[in-house]
Symmetry: C2
Subunit: 89 residues, 2 copies
């Protein structure tokens, strides 16, 4: 794992993508987190490759369009992790 | 495939789940659809097992808690499909 992987995220696959699972106590918290993530996306103008969620979890995968994870992707990962603070289980 | 599979959905897996992929022209349309799906969930008090989305697609998987797809799951599928009308690509 490269030393620049944001804390809490795992680097997976080739080309590498950042992956993290967030767990929540209830669906309302999951929705609140998804709303915050949407706001971060709008602000940064960058979206995760995939967001997969059920009632009490959200899996986020961030990949770089050109295959090389860089500062924008790491910033997106850090801002999404920050969005979970206070609501994650 | 059982004859009660809602139109446009595929029955997959054991226990069977309903699966459908929705494609959108842009992220704004994807968000609009996700908002509508959230409203349908609230109204019916029933949530898909998983929603997986990127900027221009949403994959929806509906499974029954007890493993047997029934009327509530089919209604959720039909209401989600209706929510895509007018915005799906």
């Amino acid at each position: 794992m490269s030393d620049t992987t944001p804390e809490g995220w795992a680097e997976q696959g080739r080309p590498p993508a950042l992956f993290r699972r967030f767990a929540f106590a209830c669906y309302a918290d999951t929705r609140a987190f998804l709303e915050r993530v949407a706001a971060v996306q709008e602000e940064l103008g960058l979206a995760p490759q995939n967001i997969s969620f059920g009632t009490t979890y959200v899996n986020v995968t961030i990949a770089a369009a050109d295959g090389a994870l860089g500062e924008p992707e790491r910033t997106l990962a850090q801002r999404i992790a920050a969005a979970a603070e206070g609501i994650a289980a």
